[in-house]
Amino acid sequence: MRARPAACLAAAGAVLVGTVLLGVGVGALPLAPGPVLATLADRAVRPLGGSVDGGLSPVQAAALLQLRLPRVVLAVLVGGALAIAGAAYQGVFRNPLADPYLLGAAAGAGLGATLVIAYAPGSGAVPVAAFVGALVGVGASFALGTAAGGSSSATLLLAGVAVASFLAAGQTLVQQRNAEDLQQVYGWLLGQLGRASWSDVLLVLPYLGAAVAVLLVCGRALDVLAVGDDEARSLGVHPGRLRLLVVVAASLATASAVAVSGLIGFVGLVVPHVARKLVGGAHAVLLPMSLLAGGAFLVLADLLARTVLAPAELPLGVVTAFVGAPFFAALLWSRRR
């Protein structure tokens, strides 16, 4: 039996807050949750002339506000965006294997980032190039799919496969011709949040926020799409237009996430499945649940990435798969019985 959706969402929200406190607290300089909250409250009320006592020391506060917090906030944004985009892709394509990188977003971002790393190193343009590359990848998939067969989902998926392999080949070519940058390219491809700053958060927040808002609003419409195109039409919905809107929003969320974190696999594929096991397949609940669960999962994964071999860091994409795959396997196994 499933719990009530509102209770599940509230619990997921509480878990997310808990993981955020854990994420900002654990590290070479441990920060206790109480003073962390006091410091944040103090910062929040200071513009209003108030103050809250019991905060962190100035050194601790600087570590919190300049290092830990932007990194954790970015993990929440990236994890949530990838998970909700994955849930939306799985919904519009009615395919449990769909993930946010399906339509060439990952390959396009990879090519964009690799080009900048190889030919314009140190320019700081990697996030922008990745963002543009992801959108170009999805846009090319759409153009090809529409030219080939209208708005059918199978045609679009196949177009995505074609575009992704083409862009990935381009990325490999650039990478092989610039072998000295190999390590940096790999580091980016495997995903990282180690250089996260508030400017990254501000860079992606507008796009990501708008995309997530559109997806959350479209939840109920996605349920209609789930019964097939003919039946959706018989219910007065235009499936092609709705699919376009959702895919554009999900791709924008994905491109924003990829721009600041590189290619973090697994989150967008598996978190939606975990959420579906918990709250069922109704998208009005599934999408917010994926958002919260994806954020919490990536904060925990990033925590492991920076603590297991501290002071060295593991690539985040490796951690998400290492931790996530066995967890997901266990979940599948436990639900079978």
């Binding site: 609003v217 109920r220 097939g228 003919d230 219910l235 007065g236 579906r276 069922g280 397949g281």
Partner: protein
């Protein structure tokens, strides 16, 4: 223009194939018309053209209003459709699935209103789905799923119900249950039913009128006794059969040489 469903000069071309040509049919309000015909005759395509989801020539009118000229949501409030192979979404409860039928009656992005929920509960009660409301749709039996699909279509509160092979996946007993249910609903609600049925004896017993399609054209139309003749079955189905008069309509009995 007369009351009821009126299809004139309907043609459908898919690629180079002319799937339907010059199809004409009229169904009075509250009647049940069954479209019969051999495999590939265009039965399902006819239903989908009437629904307005395949491009077609000719016209489809309901009570004198051209359905193709209506906005899609207005059309969806008049005409509902249950396909031969409905796509059953994963992990969705029967209640949530039936509630999708309210889509044309409420804002697409908003939560269902109290009135919508009342219609959903009432429809499920009529189709004896109340006890299954919280079960996940994909875990129901074939007959239960068919009733859920029917409930979804009825929650649309349509005037016309299009049923594509509503009994295809059901054994005889469950098929009769579903057809009895449809018959009861159309008598109480005045619903006009247009269905395809491959079982000719069931078609003969439940429908008021039969339309026999062959190779995309209407080759016979009328009461079951007029349409179901050994001659027609031999000509259009390539079948050897005798037709026996039953208490509720003609029944088709296959015979060997």
């Amino acid at each position: 223009m007369s009351a009821g469903l009126e299809v004139t000069g309907l043609g459908v071309q898919l690629g180079r194939a002319q799937v339907l040509a010059d199809v004409r049919l009229a169904a009075a309000p509250g009647s049940w018309t069954a479209v019969i015909g051999p495999n590939g005759a265009g039965k399902s395509t006819l239903l989908r053209a009437v629904l307005g989801v395949v491009a077609h020539s000719g016209s489809v009118h309901w009570d004198g209003v051209g359905l193709d000229t209506l906005p899609r949501r207005d059309r969806a409030r008049r005409i509902a459709y249950a396909p031969q192979l409905p796509v059953l979404p994963e992990g969705v409860t029967t209640r949530d699935y039936v509630a999708l039928g309210r889509t044309p009656h409420r804002p697409l992005l908003a939560a269902p209103r109290t009135a919508d929920r009342a219609v959903v509960e009432e429809t499920m009660a009529r189709l004896e789905l109340g006890a299954l409301a919280d079960r996940v749709l994909t875990t129901l039996s074939g007959g239960e799923q068919q009733r859920a699909v029917l409930a979804r279509a009825l929650a649309q509160q349509p005037q016309v119900l299009l049923l594509d092979e509503p009994t295809a996946a059901l054994d005889l007993g469950h098929a009769q249950q579903v057809l009895d249910l449809v018959d009861r609903l159309r008598r109480t609600d005045g619903l006009t039913v247009l269905s395809t049925l491959h079982d000719l004896s069931l078609a003969g017993q439940y429908a008021d009128r039969l339309v026999l399609l062959a190779a995309g054209r209407v080759v016979a139309e009328g009461t079951p006794a007029q349409v179901l003749t050994p001659d027609a079955l031999r000509t259009h189905y390539g079948a050897r059969a005798s037709v026996v008069a039953g208490p509720d309509g003609p029944a088709v009995l296959p015979v060997r040489d």
